[in-house]
């Protein structure tokens, strides 16, 4: 079965992204495929390369990055939600004259259309951290 996973929760604030990451691993372990993992709302903070985990704490941006490298996943953070929360690419940093960029390189920023597209091409869409 083809899954899309949607993440609304931020690391260190919400259990949602940790559950989402475990769910993603379970989906793949069962032989299913993941069409896309879409980060929205505070979930875009999973894509920040600037957060720092306390020692011995799980560090989700790296876990997502590893998962992507091992399974060639599509990790997309909503561009509108991301720039509002300080998750920006070098080109956004230049465009808005910010001092640095902060998007973990395994992620890409794109529009909400990618969430709708994911729904159209997935059998299941599972959201973590819904209102």
């Amino acid at each position: 079965m083809k899954y899309t996973i949607v993440v609304y929760g931020a690391p260190f604030s919400s259990q949602a992204p940790y559950s989402a990451c475990q769910f993603a691993k379970a989906v793949l372990a069962r032989g299913h495929s993941i069409y896309r993992i879409f980060f929205y709302h505070d979930g875009v903070l999973n894509a920040s390369s600037l957060s720092i985990a306390p020692q011995d704490d799980a560090y989700l941006p790296a876990e997502w990055a590893t998962l992507k490298r091992e399974h060639n996943l599509d990790l997309v953070a909503c561009i509108g939600a991301s720039v509002k929360r300080g998750v920006i690419t070098p080109s956004e940093a230049e465009r808005y004259q910010r001092s640095g960029d902060s998007l973990q390189s395994e992620f890409e920023l794109s529009g909400l259309g990618q969430l709708v597209d994911a729904a159209l091409y997935s059998d299941r869409v599972i959201t973590f951290g819904a209102g």
Binding site: H41, D42, A130, G131
Partner: protein, 123 residues
């Protein structure tokens, strides 16, 4: 899947207009779906019914009124908009208190829509 081969995408709006960003970002998600020419439905549940309140004035808290965007959904082709009758009752509201004409659904009708949608997005 609907008879037309389009997917049935159901958006549940469950949070009040201010206090968090779920409503504003939920609205953006619905608008994105409208562009894809799918079978889009929106149901306002729980405190989400306040998104449609006639009397929203966020000026005193210096916030932008995103909620009027919900009123514009029919312009973007999203015409299947419903509210939970249970939620209206809970907050002593009626459809007359809302900023747009919508149909109020009993809980069983909402369950039916949830059971038959291809995908549900909850905000």
């Amino acid at each position: 899947m609907s008879e037309t081969g389009k997917k049935r995408l159901l958006y549940l709006i469950t949070r009040p207009p201010f206090g968090d960003a779920y409503g504003a970002e939920g609205l953006d998600a619905v608008l994105a779906a409208a562009v894809f020419d799918q079978d889009v439905e929106v149901i306002f549940l729980e405190e989400g019914v306040f998104q449609l309140s006639k009397n929203i004035d966020p000026a005193p808290i210096a916030m932008k009124n995103h909620a009027k965007g919900f009123k514009a959904l029919p312009i973007y082709g999203v015409e299947k908009i419903f509210v939970s009758m249970e939620a209206l009752d809970k907050f002593a509201l009626s459809t007359d208190d809302l900023s747009m004409p919508v149909e109020a659904l009993e809980i069983d009708a909402i369950k039916e829509k949830m059971a038959t949608a291809d995908h549900i997005f909850s905000f």
